[in-house]
């Protein structure tokens, strides 16, 4: 069987991971439009650096997730700098809505936005996507102890950020 071409490899990665990457980007960025941009940019980078993509499925997925997390981090840094330069702009507030789910979603989104990018990625991958610390370590290219540290710190911070909505329950 002939070796898979670059286009076939990219198409296979896209078909297998694009929807999931969007959901991850949506959780990391907190904005649907930003998530769309981030996912497209991640796959465009894969196309530009196709020679560096691992050929195996797990390696390709890890490359894409890592690229997406880095893009989210870069975006977060740019927005952080912009907020520092324009302190008069109000911070994003959850929009009051009759639906509890929409309010809960807005609260979670704002709480996640309060985490540093790497910590946010670890918490999302573990708590919302159900990955183990070992899997997260492989995906992000870090040590497991680093993942556990970020997870513990992220959980503690999220409990503090989400506490006012729960009425003070720890």
């Amino acid at each position: 069987m002939a070796a898979e071409s670059v286009s076939e490899h990219l198409a296979r990665l896209f078909d297998g991971h694009a929807p999931r990457l969007y959901r991850l980007a949506r959780r990391l960025s907190g904005d649907a439009d930003a998530a769309r941009d981030l996912v497209q940019e991640a796959f465009l980078r894969a196309a530009r650096h196709a020679g560096r993509l691992p050929r195996d499925e797990a390696g390709g997925e890890a490359w894409l997730v890592r690229t997406l997390v880095n893009l989210c981090r870069d975006r977060w840094r740019r927005e952080h700098v912009r907020r520092r330069r324009q302190p008069s702009l109000p911070a994003a507030q959850p929009v009051p809505d009759a639906e509890d789910t929409a309010l809960a979603r807005a609260s979670v989104q704002q709480a996640l936005a309060g985490l540093p990018p790497r910590q946010r990625a670890v918490v999302v991958l573990h708590e919302m996507e159900g990955l183990s610390s070992a899997d997260i370590a492989l995906l992000l290219g870090v040590a497991q102890v680093t993942v556990r540290w970020h997870l513990a710190a992220g959980r503690k911070r999220l409990r503090a950020l989400l506490r006012p909505v729960t009425g003070g329950r720890p």
Binding site: Y22, R27, F43, L44, A47, R48, R105, V108, R155, L162
Partner: protein, 182 residues
Amino acid sequence: MSPRHQDDELRRRLRAGDPADDGREPDRAELLRWRRRMLDAAAERQRPALRPIWLAPLAAAALAATLLLTLPWRPAPPPSARPGNAPPSAPDAGRRDGMPAPAEMTAADATTPSQGFSRQATAALPEAMAQPLPAKTTAGPAAAAATPAVARRSVQFTAPGGTRIFWTLDSRLDLKTQGGAS
């Protein structure tokens, strides 16, 4: 509440308020557009790789020829006054090692193009300049002093790709009479 229960409660709240469940996921048409853009970018990335290999040195050679033909230049001193006036050596593959300085180059060097792309570059030269120059006499400095001085100018430069280009110009060259490029 125990730490484990705290973690479970946090997980429950996060999943209940999952931002990805807002119903704004891309539909199939949008995903296909993203897929097409990615594949087009990959194809575009692979396409122009072959072009610059020979084009860049050719462009550099053409630019150098234009500059040399337009810039004023003075004839080289008589052969007897030039240091290191060695008799012409046979063309050999060792020319690539320890390239001589332009002033010391002889006609034999000019007839031996450097390796690599120079065949294509030579093919693109004006017809008159592609003709080999006559070899210098091997009689030695005394005999060379008796012959009329030939004004020659040698230029060496490096193309963007790293290829070294040597040009030896003869003052007897007349593009108009030989039908060269105007």
